[in-house]
Symmetry: C2
């Protein structure tokens, strides 16, 4: 249970989980966001192109000599490249979004692994997206080309090339991050050592699309949106806030909402019999919406939710089976019992096709009550399952250093 | 299965169900919306008062001599008094919202029953609400007093008095209608012969509140809302449309969305790779939003969703048990397997308390895949269960005509 009892202080799951985990034990410490600009042309799934692009990224741990210990972490809809550590180390600074799982001795153990995380293209946290300046000197806005998950992955491939990594030890991600991880294994099978697919889906469901469309409609309806031309003026904050509230409900289970908030009123006050924020759950959602507006670009929200809706690993193939035939690596597929955004049935669909194809799949279904966000919140359970899976993969790796010694002996 | 195959024609569940049922067999025929204005003061739960109010209502069938066959039907959030029949009989006219269940030989059999349905106060279909003209000659807007489900019921009581009915044979409703039916049994126990509580809840859940609050935030965010002072000008259509879309998703199950729409695109076209309406489910939801705007007042939406959120049958009592101790009648409680708005667990909570209190309760759990709206859509099943329950109640009634004959014989 990671919620605080103080219902008047609303913080999102991640920061609460962090506090609960106990500060900076095993932290990767001070990190720096890095930027790399590619002058290459990105040929997009839509047929459009992106002429040059920047990726914001961070790395944690050390790349080993044979460059075989790199893990690419892919972030979810609202994530960014800052997966772990601190930028300044000042008191009260919030660490990266998956800090409790990346560091010395943690789920992604930086004593052994070199961890990379980059902001997706079409994002708004340093990688090129609709809020970036186009070649004509003005923000792209809705002129930014249409982006798919496959395009995000194609951009990441340039970063992996730049870092001199031929084959990733693993590509990992929860939610939209899982889609990217899966897409890596289809688009670049020879470069992926394993996929960690957490609380995700091989294709967006009808309900997934429906919820995202409502969020987009809320943004379109905001007169400040102005067809995306709001840069330099008032942003469509109200629309984005409603979109985030819709999204946020889908990240939590009915049970976790009920247990945390029930029908409690704010500060235990009486019902107002007025159009005030009566219930704690209302204040919580409003707070989530307002905080999100401070850090996220509404146009990026439109682009990325469209990428989510378009996501179907079978895209470009005749079937999911045909698409997944391209994969070569082992998979960990993890679903969460209370996740109603990306249900167990969606994960199992992937497992079944992979097993039909004789791929090596470890399927784990986690009993957890927090809904979709459990993959971030249930740190102990996730560390046991995912960390354990990584350890077993590491053990299976050929011991390169021994190999080198043998070679030396043969000289 | 009541959906049409033509995915380009989007109509709501009710009208599709109607078409499927087969036209006007057993129809109550041409009906007229009636209005009754009370000059009484309505003392509201908030402590405020409403000085005089109008109710729009309709009746179907004939009130019997001893006035013992009256059924009050309470409508849901977006419903109105037009539960059955036609206003003009012109070709293509849409009948009342529960037409397939009210009429000769139907679930509510008008050969035996006198059916009453009135628009709730704070509504916008003829009963006094925020769009009505206040004593100062201007629309109430947000000056309209705060309304609870108990207040809706208190207003209906004046109508039942006016119709000269001491005791209702039954009070029935689905969704918010079920809340009203239950509240009747608590507030006026001696006037309720039975309660038919369908796909409803004795108290709004945290998730119920959360979804409603998002709808309200969408309306508040619409600059046309102007704190409710939009009458005579542009209405906050975009906000209300988003609110309806959010609501509509909760009325359908994931499975029914998947089966109906899947990932199909509009008219079977290719994906646009643009910010167009790609998927059929998006077009369906948008259509639902747009149609709703044509017939519903945004301020009424705010008032009624607040009434829903406030709903807790224990309100004013120490517990649900204490509140329900006031009830005297038998209950039919019906839940639907795929209803994730008002879950089976919520209905069962009511059943358990009623059984603890030794009340006569028939609990029926219906396996149906359409989600919350199944109570409107699954006509055959509902007719069997609810119609059958009503028949058994009718059989148990003392035969008044026989009693009269005996009295005559004794003269």
């Amino acid at each position: 249970m990671i919620f605080q009892d103080d219902t008047d202080t609303y913080e999102d799951f991640e920061s609460l989980a962090l506090r609960w985990r106990g500060e900076r034990f095993g932290s990767v410490g001070i990190v720096q966001k890095q930027f790399i600009t590619f002058n290459n042309t990105l040929n997009l799934r839509s047929g459009q192109t992106l002429e040059g692009f920047t990726l914001a990224y961070e790395t944690y741990g050390t790349l080993n000599e044979d460059r075989s210990n790199a893990v690419l972490i892919c972030h979810a809809l609202s994530g960014d490249s800052h997966a772990a550590g601190f930028y300044t180390g000042e008191k009260g600074e919030k660490p990266g979004w998956w800090d409790h799982s990346i560091g010395s001795g943690k789920m992604f153990d930086t004593d052994k692994l070199f961890v990379i995380c980059s902001n997706v293209i079409s994002g708004c946290q340093g990688s090129t997206g609709p809020s970036s300046i186009a070649p004509d000197g003005k923000p792209y806005g809705m002129r930014f080309p249409f982006i798919t998950v496959s395009d995000m992955v194609a951009a990441q491939r340039y970063l992996i090339d730049y870092l001199g990594i031929d084959k990733l030890f693993s590509v990992a991600g929860g939610s939209m991050g899982g889609m990217q991880a899966l897409q890596w294994a289809v688009d670049f099978p020879e470069r992926v050592g394993s996929v960690l697919f957490l609380a995700s889906t091989p294709r967006a469901s009808t309900q997934n699309i429906a919820f995202n469309e409502i969020g987009r409609q809320a943004i379109y309806a905001d007169p400040n949106w102005k067809f995306g031309n709001y840069y330099g003026g008032a942003i469509p904050a109200a629309g984005l806030s409603v979109a985030r509230m819709v999204g946020h409900i889908t990240y939590m289970s009915e049970k976790s909402l009920e247990e945390k908030f029930g029908r409690r009123t704010q500060k235990g006050s009486e019902l107002s019999y007025h159009f005030k924020t009566d219930f704690s759950v209302e204040a919580y959602l409003k707070h989530q919406g307002e905080r999100f507006v401070e850090r996220f670009d509404p146009n990026s929200y439109l682009y990325i939710t469209k990428a989510l809706d378009y996501y179907d690993v079978a895209d470009g193939y005749h079937s999911m089976n045909e698409a997944l035939k391209r994969t070569q690596c082992p998979f960990l597929v993890l679903t969460i019992s209370s996740d109603w955004l990306y249900t167990a049935a969606q994960g199992i669909e992937l497992v079944n096709v992979l097993r039909d194809l004789q791929r090596e799949v470890e399927y784990r279904h986690v009993e957890a009550s927090f809904g979709h966000d459990s993959f971030l919140v249930e740190v102990e359970t996730m560390t046991t399952i995912v960390g354990g899976y990584i350890d077993r993969l590491l053990e299976k790796q050929p011991k390169k250093s021994e190999g080198l010694r043998l070679e030396t002996a043969e000289h």
